[in-house]
Symmetry: C2
Subunit: 416 residues, 2 copies
Amino acid sequence: MNEQTGASRKASVRDVRRTNRALLLRHVMFAGETTRPEAGAATMLSPGTITNLVTELIAEGTVVEGRKLDSPGGRPRTVLAVNPHAAVVFGADVGEAQVTVEAFDLAMRRLGGRTHAFTGRRISPQTVSSVVAGAVGALTTELVASGDFGATPTILGIGLGVPGIVEHPDVSAGDSEARDEPLVHAQVVGWDSVRFSELAAQLPAPLLIDNGAKTTTQAEAWYGSAQGVEHGAVVLIGDGVGAGIITNGRLYRGSSSSAGEWGHTKISLDGIRCRCGARGCVETFVGASAVLERWRGREDAWLGREPEGIDELFAAYHQGDEVAERSLRDLIHHLGIALSNLVNLYNPQKIVVGGWFGDRLAEEFLADIAAAVRRSSLSQPGAEVVVERSSLGRRATALGAATLPLDRFIERGWPQ
Amino acid sequence: MNEQTGASRKASVRDVRRTNRALLLRHVMFAGETTRPEAGAATMLSPGTITNLVTELIAEGTVVEGRKLDSPGGRPRTVLAVNPHAAVVFGADVGEAQVTVEAFDLAMRRLGGRTHAFTGRRISPQTVSSVVAGAVGALTTELVASGDFGATPTILGIGLGVPGIVEHPDVSAGDSEARDEPLVHAQVVGWDSVRFSELAAQLPAPLLIDNGAKTTTQAEAWYGSAQGVEHGAVVLIGDGVGAGIITNGRLYRGSSSSAGEWGHTKISLDGIRCRCGARGCVETFVGASAVLERWRGREDAWLGREPEGIDELFAAYHQGDEVAERSLRDLIHHLGIALSNLVNLYNPQKIVVGGWFGDRLAEEFLADIAAAVRRSSLSQPGAEVVVERSSLGRRATALGAATLPLDRFIERGWPQ
DNA sequence: TGGAGTTATTTCAGACTATAAACCATGTCA
DNA sequence: TGACATGGTTTATAGTCTGAAATAACTCCA
């Protein structure tokens, strides 16, 4: 009996304020438009506290008052909303072949974006850095030109969704905000322990990095199909396969932020060798490239990516091709088993199926996928889980990346 | 953008006190003996607050002052410790064939216990209830006789670890502490949606129920091999196979408390049919009964439990029997794959291997198991995970069950 | 024996919070 | 115009932690 377990931090009166401010601000942001009484009901805070907090938020410029609502007798309620022009956040989707940077106002409305496609096979962190920095700069001047954000827009931060594991430094060891930047390990693009210090130094606001599957999950949780989900999973099926796990309403990261590597869990004791080196990985059964290779009868190799071929597969299926049908049936069967492992382990309320290939599958076979999941799951968690198609599409990754600085702002307030 | 996401509750000044009180009390309990300065360092609370809280805890009778420590110049520190005689907690291990009830003082020292073995195949909830109520009564009179707890010992609660899924009612819907008792689903003993209301009514203190694998995990997390682990898993291998997952330092329960059913995740697309109805479950590869069936060459059926046979298996292995060796090698290989799924999904710091069969395996093959896990895991999380043997043995389940009321006491204080 | 030095513990003023209740503001309706 | 209803603010009060000052209880040394 030596160490502390489940150690929570000490609390002080200041924390009470921070918690309640965040609670209220989150309500305002997600409600879009609200009123003081409505916010009071949603947050359970007393009218006095609401007044107090709202006054502060208005003074800061974070929140603005709007029109007054009609009343059936009684003083009319004043509409409250986030001040969209109070600040800007950037979100970047770093893919294997391209980088997309998007700008959002404080109401998370898209203001503009830049996409840069790479021709070479592997992009270097330096290239990515210069593209991101360039896009942020270009978008910022665009914003200045629009006049909505003044001469020097307040930038809350730049979020980066990258294709790999992002290892965050141990927070417990001192709160020295200084140079504890995350390490990025991305096998797919050949990055090993990359730090984006140079990029961070170039940018006009803090750089926050996370795994792309996780930022996508965050986007679905805040604005998409996973809204309000306390325990859930977002699975992303493309060439590769990933997942984001939500536990207790928050994105789960694990001890070193690599949690959720569902694509490399095994559902078979043998099978094709995966690019991770193991055999039997989910990715080798449901990843788009693997499915294509199978369909074409080359079960021995797993290389390259060829998303176009998926169109052929679906076309063949619709023309009654039996081989195509069997490929898709097998895929759904395997997907059901792979998802049932998530169901039995996490007992999620909802599983959201996304990714370019997953989205395509869910569009046509959602019911079959759900049935396959239930067939392999334990009865109780299987009966409870809802399987749904993702609702945000390809922009989710950048959107989710942009929520990183936004979330930080909600929790901590303005810098300093 | 409608619903609230990751909704935290509103905070008030009272919560600050509760949080800090719990933080301090937890420190005192886990330290065994401490002092005010030591507690201050551990909790980061100021000396004034420590005095304040300690005074309250002493006045309540929860904490007592002890001897004064020698000082090399300066006022000597006074030893603080939990008052073991302040209260009693009970923990019950409801197994498939027997029920064990144990009593602990507030320092979680075992005071006594009762075990009742059943002869029939399936025990009814009524039988379990009367056995538990009887044992609690008998142990209580024993405690009264000992004189350490006065004429009417304060009982904080009775924790029950049961072999099945425990579904807790939704807490969010009103804080009516009234009759929202959990539902127990235990296929193994044939319980379907059982409520222990009658038992709760008979008992002299609140009844708290959880899954046995989860209470065992809790015990390992508080007092065993999983101490101080923020992200980890405790896997329990016996006839059946279960797991408890620790995320962010707390036991993870999922949306309806059935999380952690690792025994019924699939690592094979075909294979023996499991008692859950599916094929390829981990339990059919590493569960004791399944291993025995395999060893004896009867791969077609999976029935009954015969733990004694495991001794034969190990004996044969030690005598150089090749079939026994192959059985164990295969088992370890499969266990490695099954655990690697946990590693890739949860990214745990530590995996604790327990359960009567798991313990036996870990005793002899821990290094092999760890190697097998690493072989199948992704390199980054695989390199970080530590595989360890459980350290509490068979009493862990009841001990963990007893932590349920203890934890509640730490968080909420004395009843009322 | 007593004074200096040292560390533990308590006391207390000050800074913040939330809340309840009283109070003011601004409508509708008859 | 007054009664009523609801929205929003102000204020007194009760908790809470913290930092600094005060006090307590030692050891060491002359």
